[in-house]
Protein backbone atom coordinates (compact mmCIF):
# COMPACT_ATOMS: atom_id res chain seq x y z
CA UNK A 1 0.00 0.00 0.00
CA UNK A 2 2.70 2.40 0.95
CA UNK A 3 4.83 1.25 -1.95
CA UNK A 4 3.61 4.17 -3.99
CA UNK A 5 2.89 6.69 -1.30
CA UNK A 6 0.91 9.61 -2.68
CA UNK A 7 2.65 12.95 -2.62
CA UNK A 8 1.86 15.03 0.46
CA UNK A 9 -1.36 16.98 0.12
CA UNK A 10 -2.77 14.82 -2.65
CA UNK A 11 -5.32 13.16 -0.39
CA UNK A 12 -6.02 16.30 1.60
CA UNK A 13 -7.23 17.88 -1.60
CA UNK A 14 -9.96 15.24 -1.86
CA UNK A 15 -10.91 15.10 1.84
CA UNK A 16 -13.90 17.10 3.12
CA UNK A 17 -13.08 20.16 5.17
CA UNK A 18 -13.63 20.15 8.93
CA UNK A 19 -16.53 22.61 8.59
CA UNK A 20 -18.26 20.37 6.11
CA UNK A 21 -17.84 17.38 8.34
CA UNK A 22 -19.40 19.30 11.21
CA UNK A 23 -22.36 20.35 9.08
CA UNK A 24 -22.79 16.77 7.91
CA UNK A 25 -22.85 15.44 11.48
CA UNK A 26 -25.30 18.15 12.57
CA UNK A 27 -27.69 17.41 9.74
CA UNK A 28 -27.54 13.69 10.44
CA UNK A 29 -28.33 14.25 14.10
CA UNK A 30 -31.29 16.49 13.29
CA UNK A 31 -32.97 13.96 11.01
CA UNK A 32 -32.24 11.17 13.49
CA UNK A 33 -33.81 13.23 16.29
CA UNK A 34 -36.89 13.88 14.13
CA UNK A 35 -37.26 10.17 13.58
CA UNK A 36 -37.05 9.44 17.30
CA UNK A 37 -39.56 12.18 18.15
CA UNK A 38 -41.97 10.70 15.65
CA UNK A 39 -41.57 7.24 17.15
CA UNK A 40 -42.27 8.34 20.75
CA UNK A 41 -46.06 8.77 20.44
CA UNK A 42 -46.28 5.58 18.37
CA UNK A 43 -44.48 3.59 21.05
CA UNK A 44 -46.58 5.19 23.79
CA UNK A 45 -49.82 4.34 22.01
CA UNK A 46 -48.81 0.72 21.65
CA UNK A 47 -47.64 0.64 25.27
CA UNK A 48 -50.88 2.05 26.69
CA UNK A 49 -53.03 -0.07 24.40
CA UNK A 50 -51.31 -3.21 25.58
CA UNK A 51 -51.20 -2.20 29.27
CA UNK A 52 -54.79 -1.05 29.51
CA UNK A 53 -56.34 -3.23 26.83
CA UNK A 54 -54.88 -6.62 27.69
CA UNK A 55 -56.36 -6.39 31.19
CA UNK A 56 -59.90 -6.52 29.91
CA UNK A 57 -59.28 -9.36 27.48
CA UNK A 58 -60.75 -12.70 28.40
CA UNK A 59 -62.50 -15.43 26.43
CA UNK A 60 -65.90 -14.03 27.39
CA UNK A 61 -64.81 -10.57 26.26
CA UNK A 62 -64.91 -11.80 22.67
CA UNK A 63 -67.89 -14.10 22.96
CA UNK A 64 -70.45 -11.92 24.74
CA UNK A 65 -72.39 -8.88 23.67
CA UNK A 66 -72.42 -5.69 25.73
CA UNK A 67 -75.32 -5.85 28.18
CA UNK A 68 -76.07 -2.17 28.22
CA UNK A 69 -75.41 -2.14 31.96
CA UNK A 70 -72.86 0.65 32.28
CA UNK A 71 -73.18 1.61 35.92
CA UNK A 72 -72.36 -1.42 38.00
CA UNK A 73 -69.30 -2.67 36.24
CA UNK A 74 -67.76 -6.04 36.89
CA UNK A 75 -68.53 -8.92 34.61
CA UNK A 76 -72.08 -7.72 34.10
CA UNK A 77 -71.15 -5.22 31.36
CA UNK A 78 -70.48 -7.84 28.70
CA UNK A 79 -67.93 -8.02 25.86
CA UNK A 80 -67.53 -6.78 22.29
CA UNK A 81 -68.76 -9.64 20.15
CA UNK A 82 -71.45 -7.57 18.45
CA UNK A 83 -68.96 -4.78 17.77
CA UNK A 84 -66.43 -7.09 16.09
CA UNK A 85 -69.05 -8.80 13.96
CA UNK A 86 -70.79 -5.51 13.18
CA UNK A 87 -67.52 -3.98 11.96
CA UNK A 88 -66.80 -7.02 9.80
CA UNK A 89 -70.30 -7.03 8.32
CA UNK A 90 -70.50 -3.32 7.61
CA UNK A 91 -66.97 -3.04 6.26
CA UNK A 92 -67.59 -6.15 4.16
CA UNK A 93 -70.67 -4.62 2.58
CA UNK A 94 -68.84 -1.31 2.10
CA UNK A 95 -66.00 -3.15 0.32
CA UNK A 96 -68.51 -5.00 -1.85
CA UNK A 97 -69.88 -1.62 -2.93
CA UNK A 98 -66.70 0.42 -3.22
CA UNK A 99 -64.27 -2.08 -4.77
CA UNK A 100 -66.15 -2.96 -7.99
CA UNK A 101 -67.08 0.67 -8.61
CA UNK A 102 -63.60 1.91 -7.72
CA UNK A 103 -61.88 -0.63 -9.97
CA UNK A 104 -64.27 0.29 -12.76
CA UNK A 105 -63.46 3.97 -12.40
CA UNK A 106 -59.72 3.26 -12.31
CA UNK A 107 -59.94 1.13 -15.46
CA UNK A 108 -61.94 3.83 -17.21
CA UNK A 109 -59.47 6.54 -16.18
CA UNK A 110 -56.42 4.63 -17.36
CA UNK A 111 -57.71 2.75 -20.40
CA UNK A 112 -60.33 5.07 -21.85
CA UNK A 113 -60.51 8.50 -20.20
CA UNK A 114 -56.77 9.16 -20.25
CA UNK A 115 -56.29 12.87 -20.94
CA UNK A 116 -59.89 13.86 -21.64
CA UNK A 117 -61.31 16.79 -19.68
CA UNK A 118 -63.83 14.49 -18.02
CA UNK A 119 -61.06 12.19 -16.82
CA UNK A 120 -59.24 15.18 -15.37
CA UNK A 121 -62.43 16.28 -13.64
CA UNK A 122 -62.93 12.78 -12.19
CA UNK A 123 -59.35 12.75 -10.91
CA UNK A 124 -59.76 16.18 -9.36
CA UNK A 125 -62.98 15.30 -7.54
CA UNK A 126 -61.53 11.97 -6.44
CA UNK A 127 -58.67 13.85 -4.83
CA UNK A 128 -61.12 16.23 -3.20
CA UNK A 129 -63.07 13.24 -1.86
CA UNK A 130 -59.87 11.80 -0.40
CA UNK A 131 -59.48 14.93 1.67
CA UNK A 132 -63.09 15.22 2.80
CA UNK A 133 -63.35 14.59 6.58
CA UNK A 134 -65.04 11.29 7.26
CA UNK A 135 -67.77 12.89 9.36
CA UNK A 136 -68.98 14.69 6.24
CA UNK A 137 -69.71 11.34 4.60
CA UNK A 138 -71.63 10.34 7.72
CA UNK A 139 -73.53 13.61 7.65
CA UNK A 140 -74.33 13.20 3.96
CA UNK A 141 -75.72 9.71 4.41
CA UNK A 142 -77.60 10.88 7.53
CA UNK A 143 -79.28 13.69 5.58
CA UNK A 144 -80.06 11.61 2.52
CA UNK A 145 -80.82 8.15 3.85
CA UNK A 146 -81.82 8.65 7.48
CA UNK A 147 -83.59 12.01 7.60
CA UNK A 148 -84.32 12.09 3.90
CA UNK A 149 -86.22 8.81 3.89
CA UNK A 150 -87.87 9.57 7.21
CA UNK A 151 -86.54 6.30 8.56
CA UNK A 152 -83.93 5.48 11.14
CA UNK A 153 -80.38 4.20 11.50
CA UNK A 154 -79.31 0.98 9.78
CA UNK A 155 -76.16 -1.04 9.23
CA UNK A 156 -76.35 -0.74 5.46
CA UNK A 157 -76.47 3.04 5.73
CA UNK A 158 -73.23 2.89 7.70
CA UNK A 159 -71.81 0.69 4.94
CA UNK A 160 -72.71 3.28 2.32
CA UNK A 161 -71.00 6.02 4.32
CA UNK A 162 -67.90 3.82 4.64
CA UNK A 163 -67.95 2.93 0.94
CA UNK A 164 -67.94 6.64 0.05
CA UNK A 165 -64.84 6.93 2.18
CA UNK A 166 -63.19 3.92 0.54
CA UNK A 167 -64.05 4.82 -3.03
CA UNK A 168 -61.38 7.49 -3.66
CA UNK A 169 -58.70 5.30 -2.06
CA UNK A 170 -59.60 2.36 -4.31
CA UNK A 171 -59.76 4.58 -7.39
CA UNK A 172 -56.47 6.35 -6.88
CA UNK A 173 -54.46 3.31 -5.81
CA UNK A 174 -56.00 1.30 -8.65
CA UNK A 175 -55.14 3.99 -11.16
CA UNK A 176 -51.53 4.14 -10.01
CA UNK A 177 -51.15 0.38 -10.32
CA UNK A 178 -52.84 0.21 -13.73
CA UNK A 179 -50.52 2.93 -14.97
CA UNK A 180 -47.60 0.71 -13.94
CA UNK A 181 -48.70 -2.00 -16.36
CA UNK A 182 -46.33 -1.48 -19.28
CA UNK A 183 -47.93 -0.23 -22.49
CA UNK A 184 -45.92 -2.86 -24.34
CA UNK A 185 -48.19 -5.53 -22.84
CA UNK A 186 -51.34 -3.75 -24.01
CA UNK A 187 -49.77 -3.23 -27.43
CA UNK A 188 -48.72 -6.82 -27.88
CA UNK A 189 -52.18 -8.02 -26.89
CA UNK A 190 -53.84 -5.53 -29.24
CA UNK A 191 -51.44 -6.52 -32.01
CA UNK A 192 -52.59 -10.12 -31.62
CA UNK A 193 -55.99 -8.92 -32.70
CA UNK A 194 -57.63 -8.89 -29.28
CA UNK A 195 -60.49 -6.48 -28.68
CA UNK A 196 -59.72 -3.85 -26.06
CA UNK A 197 -62.02 -5.26 -23.41
CA UNK A 198 -60.32 -8.65 -23.66
CA UNK A 199 -56.94 -6.98 -23.37
CA UNK A 200 -58.04 -5.29 -20.16
CA UNK A 201 -59.70 -8.37 -18.71
CA UNK A 202 -57.09 -10.97 -19.62
CA UNK A 203 -53.82 -9.07 -19.60
CA UNK A 204 -54.00 -5.69 -17.84
CA UNK A 205 -56.08 -6.58 -14.77
CA UNK A 206 -54.34 -9.90 -13.98
CA UNK A 207 -50.98 -8.16 -14.24
CA UNK A 208 -52.13 -5.37 -11.93
CA UNK A 209 -54.02 -7.64 -9.52
CA UNK A 210 -51.55 -7.88 -6.61
CA UNK A 211 -51.07 -4.13 -6.52
CA UNK A 212 -54.77 -3.49 -6.75
CA UNK A 213 -55.43 -5.91 -3.90
CA UNK A 214 -53.00 -3.96 -1.75
CA UNK A 215 -54.92 -0.74 -2.37
CA UNK A 216 -58.21 -2.47 -1.63
CA UNK A 217 -56.96 -3.90 1.65
CA UNK A 218 -55.64 -0.52 2.74
CA UNK A 219 -59.03 1.02 1.98
CA UNK A 220 -60.70 -1.71 4.03
CA UNK A 221 -58.31 -1.09 6.91
CA UNK A 222 -59.02 2.62 6.76
CA UNK A 223 -62.78 2.09 6.79
CA UNK A 224 -62.60 -0.41 9.66
CA UNK A 225 -61.15 2.24 11.92
CA UNK A 226 -63.64 5.01 11.17
CA UNK A 227 -66.10 6.20 13.84
CA UNK A 228 -67.61 9.35 12.37
CA UNK A 229 -69.35 7.90 9.31
CA UNK A 230 -71.09 5.33 11.54
CA UNK A 231 -72.19 7.50 14.49
CA UNK A 232 -75.42 8.70 12.95
CA UNK A 233 -75.86 6.18 10.16
CA UNK A 234 -75.59 2.78 11.85
CA UNK A 235 -75.57 4.13 15.40
CA UNK A 236 -74.84 1.53 18.06
CA UNK A 237 -76.53 -1.57 19.35
CA UNK A 238 -75.89 -4.13 22.01
CA UNK A 239 -77.05 -7.32 20.41
CA UNK A 240 -75.23 -9.18 17.66
CA UNK A 241 -77.19 -9.05 14.45
CA UNK A 242 -76.74 -10.05 10.87
CA UNK A 243 -79.56 -7.77 9.82
CA UNK A 244 -77.90 -4.90 7.98
CA UNK A 245 -81.29 -3.17 7.94
CA UNK A 246 -81.26 -2.57 11.69
CA UNK A 247 -79.05 -0.73 14.17
CA UNK A 248 -75.60 -2.20 14.18
CA UNK A 249 -72.69 -2.12 16.56
CA UNK A 250 -69.09 -1.51 15.49
CA UNK A 251 -65.73 -1.38 17.23
CA UNK A 252 -65.03 2.35 16.74
CA UNK A 253 -68.52 3.38 17.89
CA UNK A 254 -68.34 1.02 20.85
CA UNK A 255 -65.04 2.62 21.87
CA UNK A 256 -66.50 6.09 21.42
CA UNK A 257 -69.51 5.28 23.61
CA UNK A 258 -67.62 3.38 26.28
CA UNK A 259 -64.88 5.92 26.78
CA UNK A 260 -67.39 8.58 27.84
CA UNK A 261 -69.00 6.42 30.54
CA UNK A 262 -68.26 7.01 34.24
CA UNK A 263 -67.67 3.38 35.18
CA UNK A 264 -64.08 2.15 35.21
CA UNK A 265 -64.94 -1.30 33.89
CA UNK A 266 -66.69 0.18 30.87
CA UNK A 267 -63.74 2.46 30.09
CA UNK A 268 -61.50 -0.58 30.31
CA UNK A 269 -63.73 -2.34 27.81
CA UNK A 270 -63.07 0.59 25.48
CA UNK A 271 -59.31 -0.06 25.80
CA UNK A 272 -59.82 -3.74 25.12
CA UNK A 273 -61.90 -2.93 22.05
CA UNK A 274 -59.27 -0.42 20.87
CA UNK A 275 -56.55 -3.03 21.12
CA UNK A 276 -58.73 -5.47 19.18
CA UNK A 277 -59.35 -2.88 16.47
CA UNK A 278 -55.68 -2.00 16.15
CA UNK A 279 -54.75 -5.68 15.84
CA UNK A 280 -57.45 -6.21 13.23
CA UNK A 281 -56.09 -3.34 11.14
CA UNK A 282 -52.52 -4.48 11.70
CA UNK A 283 -53.39 -7.89 10.30
CA UNK A 284 -55.04 -6.30 7.27
CA UNK A 285 -51.99 -4.15 6.66
CA UNK A 286 -49.69 -7.12 6.97
CA UNK A 287 -51.75 -9.07 4.47
CA UNK A 288 -51.62 -6.07 2.14
CA UNK A 289 -47.83 -6.01 2.44
CA UNK A 290 -47.56 -9.71 1.75
CA UNK A 291 -49.73 -9.36 -1.31
CA UNK A 292 -47.78 -6.39 -2.62
CA UNK A 293 -44.54 -8.30 -2.22
CA UNK A 294 -45.83 -10.67 -4.85
CA UNK A 295 -46.38 -7.71 -7.11
CA UNK A 296 -45.05 -8.49 -10.57
CA UNK A 297 -44.74 -4.85 -11.46
CA UNK A 298 -42.58 -3.63 -8.59
Amino acid sequence: MSATAPPAGALARLAPSAARRRRDMLARRIVMAATIVALIPLALIIYYLLRKGLGSWSPSFFTSDPTGNTFFGGSKIGGIKSAILGTIEMVGLAAAIAIPIGVGVAVWLVEYGRDSWFAHAVRFFTDVMTGVPSIVFGLFVYIVLVVGTGSTYAGYKGSIALSLLMLPIVIRSGEVVLLLVPDSLRESALALGAPRWRVIGSVVLPTALPGMLTGMLLAVARAAGETAPLLFTAAAANATTINLGGFMNSLPVQIYNDITKPTNAVVERAWGAALTLVLLILVLNMVARLVSRRNRLA
Binding site: E187, A191, G193, A194
Partner: protein
Protein backbone atom coordinates in the same frame (compact mmCIF):
# COMPACT_ATOMS: atom_id res chain seq x y z
CA UNK B 1 -24.73 -15.61 -44.43
CA UNK B 2 -27.17 -17.56 -42.32
CA UNK B 3 -25.68 -20.79 -41.17
CA UNK B 4 -27.31 -23.41 -43.39
CA UNK B 5 -26.91 -26.32 -41.00
CA UNK B 6 -29.36 -25.37 -38.22
CA UNK B 7 -31.78 -24.20 -40.87
CA UNK B 8 -31.91 -27.56 -42.52
CA UNK B 9 -32.46 -29.09 -39.07
CA UNK B 10 -35.46 -26.88 -38.53
CA UNK B 11 -36.67 -27.86 -41.97
CA UNK B 12 -36.54 -31.51 -40.95
CA UNK B 13 -38.65 -30.86 -37.90
CA UNK B 14 -41.19 -29.13 -40.08
CA UNK B 15 -42.81 -31.58 -42.47
CA UNK B 16 -43.21 -30.19 -45.96
CA UNK B 17 -46.97 -30.19 -45.98
CA UNK B 18 -47.49 -28.26 -42.76
CA UNK B 19 -48.25 -24.83 -44.14
CA UNK B 20 -51.05 -26.22 -46.28
CA UNK B 21 -52.51 -28.20 -43.40
CA UNK B 22 -52.53 -25.05 -41.39
CA UNK B 23 -54.18 -23.05 -44.10
CA UNK B 24 -56.85 -25.56 -44.96
CA UNK B 25 -57.70 -25.72 -41.27
CA UNK B 26 -57.71 -21.99 -40.88
CA UNK B 27 -60.05 -21.29 -43.76
CA UNK B 28 -63.15 -23.17 -42.56
CA UNK B 29 -62.49 -22.10 -38.97
CA UNK B 30 -62.69 -18.50 -40.01
CA UNK B 31 -65.52 -18.82 -42.46
CA UNK B 32 -68.41 -18.87 -39.97
CA UNK B 33 -66.91 -16.07 -37.92
CA UNK B 34 -66.82 -14.07 -41.11
CA UNK B 35 -64.65 -11.41 -39.54
CA UNK B 36 -61.11 -12.13 -40.55
CA UNK B 37 -59.96 -12.55 -44.10
CA UNK B 38 -63.21 -12.23 -45.94
CA UNK B 39 -63.71 -8.49 -45.63
CA UNK B 40 -60.17 -7.50 -46.42
CA UNK B 41 -59.19 -10.05 -49.06
CA UNK B 42 -61.14 -9.65 -52.26
CA UNK B 43 -62.61 -12.63 -54.04
CA UNK B 44 -60.17 -12.48 -56.94
CA UNK B 45 -57.15 -12.47 -54.72
CA UNK B 46 -58.33 -15.45 -52.76
CA UNK B 47 -59.06 -17.36 -55.92
CA UNK B 48 -55.46 -16.82 -56.92
CA UNK B 49 -54.20 -18.71 -53.86
CA UNK B 50 -52.49 -21.98 -54.75
CA UNK B 51 -54.27 -25.26 -54.32
CA UNK B 52 -53.69 -26.97 -50.97
CA UNK B 53 -51.43 -29.60 -52.55
CA UNK B 54 -49.05 -27.08 -54.11
CA UNK B 55 -45.92 -25.63 -52.61
CA UNK B 56 -45.84 -23.33 -49.61
CA UNK B 57 -48.98 -21.23 -49.29
CA UNK B 58 -48.67 -17.77 -50.72
CA UNK B 59 -48.82 -14.91 -48.25
CA UNK B 60 -50.28 -11.64 -49.42
CA UNK B 61 -48.30 -8.63 -50.52
CA UNK B 62 -48.68 -5.33 -48.73
CA UNK B 63 -48.73 -2.08 -50.59
CA UNK B 64 -48.41 1.40 -49.12
CA UNK B 65 -50.03 4.10 -51.17
CA UNK B 66 -49.33 7.71 -50.22
CA UNK B 67 -49.07 6.82 -46.53
CA UNK B 68 -48.81 9.83 -44.25
CA UNK B 69 -48.67 9.54 -40.45
CA UNK B 70 -49.08 12.28 -37.90
CA UNK B 71 -48.41 12.75 -34.22
CA UNK B 72 -50.72 15.62 -33.43
CA UNK B 73 -49.86 18.22 -36.05
CA UNK B 74 -46.39 17.01 -36.89
CA UNK B 75 -46.12 14.84 -39.97
CA UNK B 76 -43.88 11.87 -39.30
CA UNK B 77 -44.36 10.02 -42.59
CA UNK B 78 -44.54 12.26 -45.61
CA UNK B 79 -46.31 10.17 -48.20
CA UNK B 80 -44.75 6.73 -48.59
CA UNK B 81 -45.32 4.51 -51.62
CA UNK B 82 -43.81 1.11 -51.05
CA UNK B 83 -44.53 -2.52 -51.77
CA UNK B 84 -43.71 -5.43 -49.51
CA UNK B 85 -43.71 -8.43 -51.79
CA UNK B 86 -45.39 -11.66 -50.86
CA UNK B 87 -43.25 -14.31 -49.12
CA UNK B 88 -40.29 -12.00 -49.02
CA UNK B 89 -38.44 -10.34 -46.19
CA UNK B 90 -38.27 -6.58 -46.59
CA UNK B 91 -35.94 -4.69 -44.27
CA UNK B 92 -36.45 -1.04 -43.44
CA UNK B 93 -33.28 0.78 -42.48
CA UNK B 94 -32.56 4.38 -41.65
CA UNK B 95 -31.33 6.61 -38.82
CA UNK B 96 -33.21 6.94 -35.52
CA UNK B 97 -36.38 8.98 -35.79
CA UNK B 98 -36.75 8.57 -39.54
CA UNK B 99 -40.16 6.94 -39.16
CA UNK B 100 -39.32 3.25 -39.59
CA UNK B 101 -41.31 2.12 -36.58
CA UNK B 102 -44.14 4.51 -37.36
CA UNK B 103 -44.30 3.03 -40.82
CA UNK B 104 -44.76 -0.56 -39.74
CA UNK B 105 -47.13 0.45 -36.95
CA UNK B 106 -49.33 2.00 -39.63
CA UNK B 107 -49.54 -1.33 -41.45
CA UNK B 108 -51.46 -3.12 -38.68
CA UNK B 109 -53.05 0.10 -37.45
CA UNK B 110 -51.21 0.12 -34.14
CA UNK B 111 -50.15 3.70 -34.85
CA UNK B 112 -53.61 4.98 -34.00
CA UNK B 113 -53.36 3.51 -30.48
CA UNK B 114 -51.09 6.39 -29.53
CA UNK B 115 -53.18 9.34 -28.33
CA UNK B 116 -53.20 12.09 -30.96
CA UNK B 117 -51.72 9.90 -33.69
CA UNK B 118 -53.43 9.32 -37.03
CA UNK B 119 -52.61 8.09 -40.51
CA UNK B 120 -53.74 9.01 -44.00
CA UNK B 121 -53.35 7.25 -47.31
CA UNK B 122 -53.89 3.60 -48.07
CA UNK B 123 -52.37 0.36 -46.85
CA UNK B 124 -53.41 -2.43 -49.20
CA UNK B 125 -53.37 -5.99 -47.97
CA UNK B 126 -53.74 -7.97 -51.15
CA UNK B 127 -55.60 -5.08 -52.69
CA UNK B 128 -57.91 -4.30 -49.76
CA UNK B 129 -57.36 -1.07 -47.84
CA UNK B 130 -56.98 -1.80 -44.14
CA UNK B 131 -58.01 1.81 -43.43
CA UNK B 132 -61.33 1.37 -45.24
CA UNK B 133 -64.26 2.33 -43.02
CA UNK B 134 -65.82 -1.12 -43.40
CA UNK B 135 -62.74 -2.87 -42.08
CA UNK B 136 -62.60 -4.16 -38.50
CA UNK B 137 -59.31 -3.08 -36.95
CA UNK B 138 -59.24 -6.28 -34.88
CA UNK B 139 -59.39 -8.39 -38.06
CA UNK B 140 -56.52 -6.38 -39.54
CA UNK B 141 -54.33 -7.10 -36.53
CA UNK B 142 -55.20 -10.76 -36.61
CA UNK B 143 -54.04 -10.98 -40.21
CA UNK B 144 -50.95 -8.84 -39.63
CA UNK B 145 -48.96 -9.95 -36.60
CA UNK B 146 -46.33 -7.91 -34.82
CA UNK B 147 -43.16 -8.63 -32.86
CA UNK B 148 -41.81 -5.84 -30.72
CA UNK B 149 -38.38 -4.54 -29.89
CA UNK B 150 -38.30 -5.82 -26.33
CA UNK B 151 -39.51 -9.34 -25.65
CA UNK B 152 -42.81 -8.85 -23.82
CA UNK B 153 -44.39 -12.13 -22.77
CA UNK B 154 -47.50 -11.67 -20.62
CA UNK B 155 -46.09 -11.77 -17.07
CA UNK B 156 -49.04 -13.54 -15.48
CA UNK B 157 -49.06 -16.37 -17.99
CA UNK B 158 -47.15 -19.60 -18.46
CA UNK B 159 -45.26 -20.45 -21.66
CA UNK B 160 -48.28 -22.37 -22.91
CA UNK B 161 -50.76 -19.64 -21.99
CA UNK B 162 -48.64 -16.99 -23.66
CA UNK B 163 -48.83 -18.81 -26.97
CA UNK B 164 -52.48 -19.67 -26.43
CA UNK B 165 -53.24 -16.05 -25.48
CA UNK B 166 -53.70 -14.95 -29.05
CA UNK B 167 -56.20 -17.73 -29.66
CA UNK B 168 -58.03 -17.24 -26.39
CA UNK B 169 -58.15 -13.46 -26.66
CA UNK B 170 -59.47 -13.43 -30.19
CA UNK B 171 -62.10 -16.13 -30.00
CA UNK B 172 -64.87 -17.05 -27.68
CA UNK B 173 -65.13 -20.56 -28.99
CA UNK B 174 -63.39 -23.37 -27.20
CA UNK B 175 -60.74 -24.79 -29.45
CA UNK B 176 -58.05 -27.41 -29.56
CA UNK B 177 -55.26 -25.35 -28.10
CA UNK B 178 -52.62 -28.04 -27.49
CA UNK B 179 -52.03 -28.73 -31.15
CA UNK B 180 -51.99 -25.10 -32.22
CA UNK B 181 -49.64 -24.11 -29.40
CA UNK B 182 -47.23 -26.89 -30.28
CA UNK B 183 -47.29 -25.94 -33.94
CA UNK B 184 -46.66 -22.29 -33.15
CA UNK B 185 -43.79 -23.16 -30.81
CA UNK B 186 -42.28 -25.47 -33.43
CA UNK B 187 -42.71 -22.74 -36.00
CA UNK B 188 -40.77 -20.40 -33.75
CA UNK B 189 -38.03 -23.01 -33.21
CA UNK B 190 -38.72 -23.07 -29.49
CA UNK B 191 -40.57 -26.33 -28.98
CA UNK B 192 -37.61 -28.54 -28.11
CA UNK B 193 -36.38 -26.02 -25.55
CA UNK B 194 -39.68 -25.52 -23.74
CA UNK B 195 -41.74 -28.66 -24.27
CA UNK B 196 -40.99 -29.84 -20.72
CA UNK B 197 -41.69 -26.48 -19.10
CA UNK B 198 -44.88 -25.33 -20.77
CA UNK B 199 -46.42 -24.63 -17.37
CA UNK B 200 -43.64 -22.39 -16.15
CA UNK B 201 -43.92 -18.60 -16.37
CA UNK B 202 -43.03 -17.12 -19.74
CA UNK B 203 -40.79 -14.62 -17.95
CA UNK B 204 -38.59 -17.48 -16.74
CA UNK B 205 -37.15 -17.99 -20.22
CA UNK B 206 -33.98 -16.28 -21.45
CA UNK B 207 -34.28 -13.08 -23.46
CA UNK B 208 -33.84 -14.81 -26.79
CA UNK B 209 -36.30 -17.53 -25.86
CA UNK B 210 -38.77 -14.88 -24.72
CA UNK B 211 -38.54 -13.17 -28.09
CA UNK B 212 -39.10 -16.47 -29.89
CA UNK B 213 -42.01 -17.05 -27.51
CA UNK B 214 -43.43 -13.72 -28.67
CA UNK B 215 -42.95 -14.81 -32.27
CA UNK B 216 -44.74 -18.08 -31.46
CA UNK B 217 -47.50 -16.05 -29.84
CA UNK B 218 -48.06 -14.08 -33.01
CA UNK B 219 -47.73 -17.21 -35.21
CA UNK B 220 -50.43 -18.99 -33.23
CA UNK B 221 -53.21 -16.86 -34.71
CA UNK B 222 -52.06 -17.70 -38.26
CA UNK B 223 -51.12 -14.23 -39.49
CA UNK B 224 -50.42 -13.62 -43.17
CA UNK B 225 -47.92 -10.84 -42.57
CA UNK B 226 -45.53 -10.39 -39.64
CA UNK B 227 -44.10 -7.00 -38.75
CA UNK B 228 -40.93 -6.97 -36.67
CA UNK B 229 -39.80 -3.81 -34.95
CA UNK B 230 -36.09 -4.27 -34.25
CA UNK B 231 -36.74 -7.77 -32.88
CA UNK B 232 -33.09 -8.44 -32.03
CA UNK B 233 -31.99 -5.16 -30.54
CA UNK B 234 -32.32 -6.47 -26.98
CA UNK B 235 -30.68 -9.83 -27.72
CA UNK B 236 -27.17 -11.23 -27.73
CA UNK B 237 -25.54 -12.37 -31.01
CA UNK B 238 -26.43 -16.04 -30.61
CA UNK B 239 -30.08 -15.34 -29.87
CA UNK B 240 -30.02 -12.87 -32.76
CA UNK B 241 -28.71 -15.56 -35.09
CA UNK B 242 -31.52 -17.90 -34.08
CA UNK B 243 -34.14 -15.25 -34.77
CA UNK B 244 -32.57 -14.48 -38.13
CA UNK B 245 -32.63 -18.16 -39.10
CA UNK B 246 -36.23 -18.23 -38.00
CA UNK B 247 -37.08 -15.24 -40.18
CA UNK B 248 -35.67 -16.98 -43.26
CA UNK B 249 -37.74 -20.01 -42.31
CA UNK B 250 -40.95 -18.07 -41.75
CA UNK B 251 -41.01 -16.31 -45.07
CA UNK B 252 -42.06 -19.61 -46.61
CA UNK B 253 -45.50 -18.91 -45.26
CA UNK B 254 -45.74 -15.24 -44.32
CA UNK B 255 -44.67 -11.90 -45.69
CA UNK B 256 -42.19 -10.25 -43.33
CA UNK B 257 -41.34 -6.62 -42.78
CA UNK B 258 -38.44 -6.02 -40.40
CA UNK B 259 -37.21 -2.72 -39.03
CA UNK B 260 -33.58 -2.88 -38.07
CA UNK B 261 -30.78 -0.62 -36.96
CA UNK B 262 -28.29 -3.27 -37.79
CA UNK B 263 -27.28 -3.12 -41.45
CA UNK B 264 -25.51 -6.47 -41.32
CA UNK B 265 -28.79 -7.93 -40.16
CA UNK B 266 -30.65 -6.39 -43.08
CA UNK B 267 -28.00 -7.79 -45.42
CA UNK B 268 -28.33 -11.24 -43.84
CA UNK B 269 -32.09 -11.67 -43.74
CA UNK B 270 -33.74 -9.33 -46.23
CA UNK B 271 -34.62 -10.00 -49.86
CA UNK B 272 -35.29 -6.34 -50.36
CA UNK B 273 -34.28 -3.31 -48.36
CA UNK B 274 -35.86 0.11 -48.07
CA UNK B 275 -33.90 3.13 -46.86
CA UNK B 276 -35.78 5.90 -45.10
CA UNK B 277 -34.72 9.39 -44.09
CA UNK B 278 -36.77 12.05 -42.26
CA UNK B 279 -40.11 10.43 -42.92
CA UNK B 280 -39.48 9.83 -46.59
CA UNK B 281 -38.59 6.75 -48.56
CA UNK B 282 -35.26 7.39 -50.24
CA UNK B 283 -34.79 4.13 -52.04
CA UNK B 284 -35.96 0.56 -52.15
CA UNK B 285 -34.52 -2.37 -54.03
CA UNK B 286 -32.90 -5.78 -53.76
CA UNK B 287 -30.77 -5.86 -50.62
CA UNK B 288 -27.64 -6.61 -52.62
CA UNK B 289 -28.18 -3.52 -54.76
CA UNK B 290 -28.92 -1.21 -51.83
CA UNK B 291 -25.71 -2.20 -50.08
CA UNK B 292 -23.38 -2.40 -53.07
CA UNK B 293 -24.53 0.09 -55.68
CA UNK B 294 -27.28 2.26 -54.25
CA UNK B 295 -28.91 4.71 -56.61
CA UNK B 296 -29.06 7.62 -54.20
CA UNK B 297 -25.97 9.26 -52.66
CA UNK B 298 -27.78 9.56 -49.29
CA UNK B 299 -28.26 5.79 -49.20
CA UNK B 300 -24.61 5.29 -50.01
CA UNK B 301 -23.57 7.66 -47.21
CA UNK B 302 -25.75 5.78 -44.76
CA UNK B 303 -24.79 2.22 -45.67
CA UNK B 304 -21.12 3.11 -45.76
CA UNK B 305 -21.39 4.66 -42.31
CA UNK B 306 -20.79 8.28 -43.21
CA UNK B 307 -23.75 9.33 -41.07
CA UNK B 308 -26.50 7.85 -38.91
Amino acid sequence: MTNPEPRSKVAEMDPEGRPEVHRSEAAPANAPAGGLRQPIVPEAARAAEPEPDGGPAAAPAVQLDGLRAYYGDSMQLKGIDLEFRANEVTAIIGPSGCGKSTLIRCINRMHEEIPGARAEGRVLLEGADVYDSSVDVVAVRRAIGMVFQKPNPFPTMSVFDNVAAGLRLTSRRRQKLDEKVERALRGAGLWDEVKDRLGEPGLGLSGGQQQRLCIARSLAVDPEVILMDEPCSALDPIATLKIEELISELKERVTIVIVTHNMQQAARVADRTAFMLSGELVEVGPTQTIFTKPGDPRTEDYVTGKFG
